[in-house]
Amino acid sequence: MTVRTAELLMAVMMGAFSVYLMYKSLELPIGWVEDEGPGGGAWPFWLSAVMLISCFGIIYNWFRKKGKIANSMKTYIQSHVFIEVGAVAVALIITVALFSFIGIYGALPLFLLFYLKVLGKHRWLFSITFAVVTPIIIFYFFEITLKIILPKGITEPLFLPLYKMFL
């Protein structure tokens, strides 16, 4: 996909999102309420309308081939970049999904290990040590010092004695 194609696609998607926001704003009055000024939906509705107009403007410029982006025939994301960036993005999504199941202390070591070993190509010993030590520091700083309780999922019972010891 070229940058030029991506530009059009993005503008169309954002335009569609603007329309959704306008539709959703209609739940509250968008006009002038007597003695009250603008209604509760007016602010988001009319600003979403400006978003939509901006998207039309971007598309208009695209047809006129005005601007650097609208003329660029370069690849939007080169395949080797896509593999790397995509891998990171997918790893992040999986990690967040795992937070609710195996908890933050189950998911983070996996993420760190993946990043360090697979993407960073560091040595095993280093990767594993790092993946184990980082969550321990996080536990100390966030849960013990700051008393911010992070999600544990099914690993919760493992932490009960730790709570007893430190909190």
């Binding site: 008393k147 919760e156 709570y163 909190l167």
Partner: protein, 323 residues
Amino acid sequence: MVKKITLLAIAGIMATVSAPSAIAGWTPVKPVEFVVMAGKGGGADKAVRLIQSIIAENEMAPVPFTPVNKAGGSGAEALVHVNGRSGNDHTIMFTLNSFYTTPLRQPKLGVDIADFTPIARMAEDTFLLWVHSDRKDINNMADFAKAAKAKGKDWIMAGTGKNSEDNLLTDFLNGAYGLQMKYVPYKGGGKVAKELAGKNADSTVNNPSEQLGFYEAGTTKALASFTDERLPLFPNAPTFKELGEDYVYYMQRTVVGAPGMSQEATEYYQGLFKDVFNSKKWQEYRTKKSLQGDLLQGDALMSYWMKERDVHEVMLKNMGAIK
């Protein structure tokens, strides 16, 4: 090497977990999530942080209580969150009157407050009618009605959010005294109090705790109170009952447990909050902020909720906020 140590550590932890607890009676085993139905810095939030510090200071509980503010949608977010924690013994919530009004106004939430576990009503906050001290012409309700009537629609009553408690009281005043005061919603009672002190509003119906600073400095004065009896802090402000209007209104400050909380946990929290209620600091706070309402627990609290919910349903219907 590292792996081995981790395995050993995990094994050790497992061993301690599986050992049966020898202590009699239920106690919380992990930090208790203390949901606040309002944002950081508001009246409810201040009370929660005071309770948190009373529990910590007197070492009343083996675990910390961590406040989590969920102010979204007039407390709708908090209600849905706690409702979803059904059967959880480590989630409690600090509520206000939006506990009744929000489920009534947003039936889509699917929250029935009768499902929640009653723990303890810690206090009832009171409301008074306030004006700026520079209004030398206003010294009682008759003066107030005269002045507000003269200004008609331009008399500004500042309050928190439309259809909130302040709005209910404003509607009552408009109806009872034939006024047309204009209601301007602001974010939070502290902001409302400041608008009066800065003369950007003509009157407010603040809680004493919100106006106390300005009152003590002589910037604002209270004309009448929405209580059964005169408040000791404001002996010169008559109740509306004395003035011939049968109208009282209070704001509950109550601790609620998640629906389906176990019997043992409920008893534990009821005992704990009884101790908090009787602590010197909480009693001092009650006196200072002119809070009313005795400790109410268990079934008595539940029947209080049901009564109040009916009262609010009628009020909201009269306002046209619900059908």
